[in-house]
Amino acid sequence: MSNGVHEIEDAALLFVFGYNGADSHPIVARRIVRAKQKGATIICCDPRRIETARIADMHLQLRNGSNLALVNSLAQVIIEEGLTDDKFIEEHSSGFEEFKELVRVNYTPERVSAVTQIAPEDIRRAARLYATSGRSMILYGMGVCQFAQAVNVVKGLANLAIMTGNFGRWGVGIGPVRGQNNVQGACDMGALPNSYPGYQNVTVPEIQAKFEKAWGVKLPNKAGIALTQVPHYVLHEPEEKKIRCYYVFGEDPAQSDPDLPEVREALSKIDLVILQDIYMNKTGQYADVLLPSTGWNEHDGVFSCCDRGFQRIRKLVDPPADADVLTDWDIISRISTAMGYPMKYNNTEEIWNEVISLCPGFIGATYEKLEKYGNIQWPCRSADMSDKGTSFLHKDGKFANADGRARFSSIEWQKPTELENDEFPIILSTVREVGHYSVRTMSGNCRLLRNLEDEPGWVQMNPELCSDLGVRHGELVKVLSKRGHCIARCLPTERVKKQAVYMTYQWWIGACNELTIASLDPISNTPEYKYCACRVEKIDDQAWAEQYVLDEYVKIRESMGIDVRGNKRGEAA
């Protein structure tokens, strides 16, 4: 996020785009409520009537997959009505003229209303509110990121903030509110195919030289491939380019990735699959090696929260007495050493000191300061105790580009990859559920949390769609796409429109990723989880379906090594 979570409540206007705070980040959602109480205007932009929509002053219930059409149209209105911050544009940006030309004719609210399903007057009103509040902040989430056109929508949102001067001050900016707890941290640490820790590009010779010196070894200068490209590299590339080994660490691609049938095929064809994790999971069933590690609360370290805040995690307990597990960094260091590249660390602080010594933006965030202040938002460029980090970026309109200016991006809206058709007439979009987290190996194993919901999970459907199909609340239904099918429970809700249904991805039996499409954003390689074509079918024999769910559940848990029938506990296999 360009701004801090604590600044949200001080915005005069919050533009919440494709972000369902109540389900994804309840505590961030509370800040939105607090902003409202302090008098902020809230505009919610989401195809579902989510919680935020209820407290919003305006809900733009756009059609799924029309994000950039709407964003460009908002810009069109702001320009047309002379609401731009010309001084900011002139002093701190480039590319405005070209952008103006792009949106002028093709993105009038009238032109886009067929695509967005939003009345032109509503687009105008929202644009005016955003441009004139004086302190507008944009928050966006997976409803923006999980499309084949994603990065360009983010750039489109940035256009809005630049043209209205909503950058570089308290309570403005644009904030991706990221899903998993340490996505920010994994990026910060360079678990990315194109950058070293601290967002230092692997293809820049001086940076490469710096890391070669620090690590004492020659380094590759070509960017790597993205996780989501692995199935392709296994199944469709020529022999000499294929992926042969997949070292999976704390993730579960066989549950969380799109188009699971394809993922399974790829996993079964890779020569060596290594899974390093705390629990058995779906990917583990394809693993040739399992490396058991310590879990959260059993080791020390640092997490980065969604607004660039470094915070300590601390070891609370030892792993169970009968578990022969090691910390993740210890396991990797041992393998590295055995391969002839010795790594040896005694504790996480030693590792952290190496990290910050290599990253100018992190160098001041020492364990000592984290201990003392609790939370340091990078950049923190000085080890001096007075540097407590940076709440908001782009102060005084300075941007990270070489010329210090923000760049307008002129990009056309593009249709989603797989549109509805006669065979699959409904949109399937995947969403999150409060109470559970990602693939559930953590939250699903917590006694109090698993009671909230259980297999096979729900499919949210408009009541009219339910009555067309003759299905009722709680009934099991079959959901199908070109790629696969699964069974889930019908949840009629007015919150969703008739054209789309919504499922959460943590379920094994109601596994919506059996259906989703592996169509990737060309820049971020994020899959289009928010849009593919599907069909929902009534199941006449409900007794059979209920029994099927029970049987499958037992089967899967057994395959995960759980003693379901009271037999002797075996090893996970």
């Binding site: 000499e240 640092v302 995960m560």
Partner: protein, 144 residues
């Protein structure tokens, strides 16, 4: 009984709420989790923050805790068998070196983890991929 309060960061979403855990160190058990004052959470937690630590007790609900290294000794399709750490590390490093020698470093893909392991483990993993294996094929599930 040595009961201690320790503050840590929630591992269930990017809000980064601060949690005060009460830990019985003699019995190696977490007793309770309550909100701690943090910049982002401001003294509150959601359900996951309050109850999400129970997974560590391995309550055998969905999947089981992995407790020792395991290898399919007789190749794909054969059962996973428990081995010592030395054997596991020897096996993994040997096979990685073979694959690297035969197909080059870019035939190996590593992942970071956006979940519980923390920043240091991610740093070590990407350093391993780049310096020990010799590839930039390292990524994590930010996209998911």
């Amino acid at each position: 009984m040595a009961v201690k309060d320790i503050v840590s960061t929630c591992a269930y979403c990017g809000a980064g709420c601060q949690i005060k855990f009460t830990v019985d160190q003699d019995r190696n058990k977490i007793l309770e989790a309550v909100p701690a004052p943090g910049r982002t959470n401001d003294g509150t937690l959601c359900l996951k923050g309050h109850y999400g630590w129970d997974y560590i007790n391995d309550p055998q609900i969905l999947t089981r805790r992995l407790k020792r290294p395991m290898i399919r000794k007789n190749g794909k399709g054969s059962p996973l068998e428990p081995v010592s750490w030395d054997e596991a590390v020897g096996y993994v490093s040997g096979r990685l070196m073979d694959i690297k020698a035969k197909w080059g470093p870019d035939s190996i893909m590593c992942t970071g983890s956006a979940r519980g392991p923390g920043n240091e483990a991610n740093y070590v993993m990407q350093k391993f991929a780049r310096a020990a294996v010799g590839t930039n094929n390292v990524d994590h599930c930010a996209r998911i």
